[in-house]
């Protein structure tokens, strides 16, 4: 199954090549069947240990990773750590090093600090899988979204995708923007001005269309992705009230009349019914919200298999490069930097 898939960790989508993404999705396709069998288990990761290290509350993602590991016959351990006392307790690094001492093959981490998985990857031997870090990335969510779109549309290239809501704080939005645009979709985003900074237009080379009115984003869209609105944004003065948000930025049936006739609606969950999405849509025929959850297991099986199992790259078994970090972004070496970037891109091909 391994055809040159070289990835030690899954930290984000931004740095993945199209080939790597496609390989992950194709692998997930093959694992989808396992969950449909009567005996939902294959021996692919027998004898491997997967630790789910969750520093943020999560039901769906943590369960999904646990089921994925178990259906691959891995030993899965869940650790939930309250982050309310970050400064008092053990540091993230010490926690990770202690877990490392028990020789896990893979650590799945969710953390409220952006970059926490990168932090671990720098110091740990185990394969690190990012299950959501701050507002940075949520790569398996984007992969399961892509798998779901591909399953229903047959392709991703050429599709118009509208992402609606709190883009600024959304790791799901970022990972999806990277992934879907790499596979040839065009992206538009919309939401309150406080939560959709115009700078998103230049997040990626291909550009993102930034709209103020969600109707303009949804017009002609093949895929409408709705993001969860968090109540605490109100106290941070990003918007005045949930009521006003629901009226101006919530998705209602009337919006969909402007979308493509076969448009699909997605939501990463958990939903605030009646706030960012009306129940008629969430439970309606265009909604793929539960398909997303089903595909989540297949995608996470693929990720664990490729990073912790027989499919993992040769590098995966070796010690990570703990050496000095090269600081990029030196202004005087900007030209050098772009040369290196070209090299990196070439080496991916």
């Amino acid at each position: 199954m391994d055809n040159g898939f070289k990835l030690k960790h899954l930290l984000g989508i931004r740095e993945l090549s199209v080939d790597q993404i496609t390989h992950l999705l194709d692998t997930a396709d093959t694992f989808r069947d396992v969950s449909k069998r009567e005996i939902k288990k294959v021996p692919a990761l027998r004898g491997r240990t997967v630790i789910n290290l969750f520093f943020e509350a999560s039901t769906r993602t943590r369960t999904s990773f646990e089921i994925a590991a178990k259906r691959l016959s891995a030993d899965a351990i869940n650790i939930s750590v309250a982050t309310s006392s970050v400064s008092k307790g053990e540091t993230l690094l010490d926690t990770a090093r202690n877990l490392e001492a028990m020789a896990p093959d893979c650590i799945v981490i969710r953390h409220s600090s952006a970059g926490a998985p990168q932090h671990l990857a720098r110091f740990c031997n185990a394969a690190i899988v990012n299950a959501g870090d701050g507002a940075h990335e949520h790569p398996t969510q984007a992969l399961l979204d892509a798998l779901t779109i591909r399953e229903h549309k047959g392709h991703i290239a050429g599709l118009k995708v509208a992402i609606i809501g709190d883009i600024l704080h959304s790791r799901v939005a970022r990972s999806n923007i990277y992934l879907l645009s790499k596979l040839g979709a065009t992206i538009s985003v919309a939401g309150p001005g406080t939560l959709v900074p115009p700078e998103f237009a230049e997040l990626i080379e291909q550009g993102v269309r930034v709209e103020r009115d969600i109707q303009d984003s949804i017009a002609d869209a093949d895929v409408v992705m709705i993001l969860r609105m968090q109540r605490e944004r109100q106290t941070e003065a990003f918007f005045p009230s949930m009521r006003e948000y629901a009226v101006h930025y919530g998705l209602h049936l009337s919006h969909l009349s402007q979308a493509a006739s076969d448009a699909i609606v997605m939501h990463p969950g958990p939903m605030n019914r009646g706030i960012e999405i009306s129940s008629e849509i969430a439970d309606g025929g265009r909604s793929l919200i539960l398909d997303q959850v089903t595909n989540g297991v297949a995608v996470r099986m693929a990720v664990l298999y490729l990073l912790a199992g027989a499919g993992k790259s040769e590098n995966g078994a070796k010690r990570g490069q703990n050496g000095k970090n090269v600081v990029r972004g030196s202004s005087a070496t900007a030209r050098e930097g772009s040369v290196n970037k070209e090299k990196r891109e070439r080496s991916k091909k």
Partner: protein, 442 residues
């Protein structure tokens, strides 16, 4: 005791000197200049400066020495050792210690510790407000009597314009410059890096350039209102530098400094979440770097200051948003200025000496420093503009290692530091490259 700095090239903008001369020092003071060919004065030690630039001692007017209170990060002794190793003869210690330097007892303690260390000159900066809380004025008069040369609530800038006005009016009475870290906390709060493309990519809260610019503008308006001398610390944005440019055009008593990391790195350096890139003000985008370079060229910027801010490795080994702000800079400041500015043709050596010595002495009214005129203190920074060297953080004299410049290679650096007529630092490669210099010159 007499010391002759022989065959060097003297650059002293305070007197307009830019010429090959010998420099004679006696009993810690400058005696004067003589021609290279002149005979050796009697009873005199000789320092061979062939092929080297001899400048009035460099002054880093913005460092954090962490003592008292945070001695695990740095002590005045270790900070002073790092200073002379980096080519600085004088440093100014910010007051955010524990306790804060907001009264004369702390000021005297800092000065005594510096005398005990006996390397660099250390001038304390006092707090503007008690405990830097921004609510009550600190005892500036008492602190000035004890030895402070400026006041600042660096890192915790006075939030209220009304309070800042009173502070500036009061400081003017003691002829103390007010140094401000420009940051509107209501805009920057929660931010851990520059707000822009990279903060969006990395998913971290940004500090917009406007947070610095609003405060810079506020302070310049208050300088106009009060007539107090205002010095803006480590400016990092296009708009803030423009604010100073306009204030100077108006003839206001406003000066400013920039830090080496702000002209060397952009916010792109944050992309690996290396906490050694976390600093306040943050590393900015290229347009801001360009504005700093322009300000260094056109004279808007008065001084280079490192904002040396040591933190323990354990503190920096946290998640990016949890780690403290600050990087060390005393030992890389001159290297980054020589390599990135002088040797790239951005500024002349003479302008470098102005930025690192003449101007800081002028801003802080350090009368017999920043100059090599007869009778001045014999503080010298001796520079080899061709020396190639690599910074190895593990061998730093500082107690902390929080630098993004570990393993950086430089062309140009300080090779000897003279404080009060005494050679307190000699670069390990000085003897090795001396032969090459002679060959090159002859």
């Amino acid at each position: 005791m007499r010391l002759l700095i022989q065959n060097g090239y003297i650059i002293d903008p305070s007197q307009g000197t830019n010429t090959g001369k010998n420099l004679l020092i006696e009993d810690g003071r400058v005696v004067g200049l003589s021609s290279h060919g002149d005979g050796l004065p009697e009873g005199c030690e000789v320092f061979d400066a062939t092929g080297l630039v001899v400048a009035p001692g460099f002054i880093d007017m913005h460092v954090h020495l962490r003592e008292p209170g945070h001695e695990y990060r740095e002590t005045i002794a270790s900070g002073a050792a790092a200073a002379v190793a980096g080519g600085f003869t004088t440093v100014c210690a910010m007051p955010n210690t524990n306790p804060v330097n907001d009264h004369a007892a702390v000021t005297r303690f800092v000065i005594e510790q510096a005398e005990r260390a006996g390397l660099a000159n250390v001038f304390p900066i006092g707090a503007i407000t008690k405990n830097s809380d921004g609510t009550e004025l600190a005892e500036m008069g008492e602190m000035k009597d004890a030895g402070i040369i400026a006041v600042s609530d660096d890192g915790r800038p006075v939030p209220s314009a009304g309070m800042m006005r009173r502070a500036m009016e009061y400081a003017r009475g003691f002829d103390l410059p007010v140094i401000d870290h420009c940051e509107d906390k209501s805009l920057a709060r929660g931010g851990v890096m520059h707000e822009g493309h990279w903060s969006l990519v990395l998913g971290m809260r940004g500090m917009p350039a406007a947070a610095e610019e609003i405060d810079a503008q506020r302070n310049c308006l208050l300088a106009e209102l009060t007539g107090a001398r205002l010095h803006l610390a480590h400016l990092s944005t296009d708009g803030a530098i423009e604010v100073v440019r306009r204030a100077k055009e108006k003839g206001l008593p406003v000066t400013c400094e920039v830090a080496p990391h702000h002209w060397t790195l952009t916010d792109e350096a944050v992309q690996d979440y290396d906490t050694n890139t976390k600093v306040s003000p943050p590393l900015r985008s290229q347009n801001h770097v360009d504005a700093i370079i322009a300000g260094l060229r056109d004279g808007t910027i008065d001084a280079i200051a490192s904002d040396h801010a040591p933190h323990h490795a354990d503190e920096k080994a946290l998640e990016y948003d949890q780690a403290p702000f600050g990087i060390v800079g005393l030992e890389t400041s001159v290297g980054l200025a020589m390599d990135r500015l002088v040797n790239e043709g951005v500024i002349s050596l003479e302008r470098l000496v102005e930025l690192c010595s003449t101007n800081p002495a002028r801003v802080l009214r350090l009368e017999d420093r920043g100059t090599l005129r007869a009778g001045a203190r014999a503080d010298l920074t001796i520079i080899d503009s061709e020396l190639t060297w690599t910074f190895d953080a593990s061998r730093s004299k500082s107690k902390s290692r929080n630098t993004p410049f570990d393993s950086y290679a430089f062309r140009g650096g300080a090779v000897a530091t003279v404080v009060g007529g005494r050679i307190v630092y000699l670069h390990p490669d000085y003897a090795k490259v001396a032969k090459q210099r002679h060959a090159f010159v002859s």
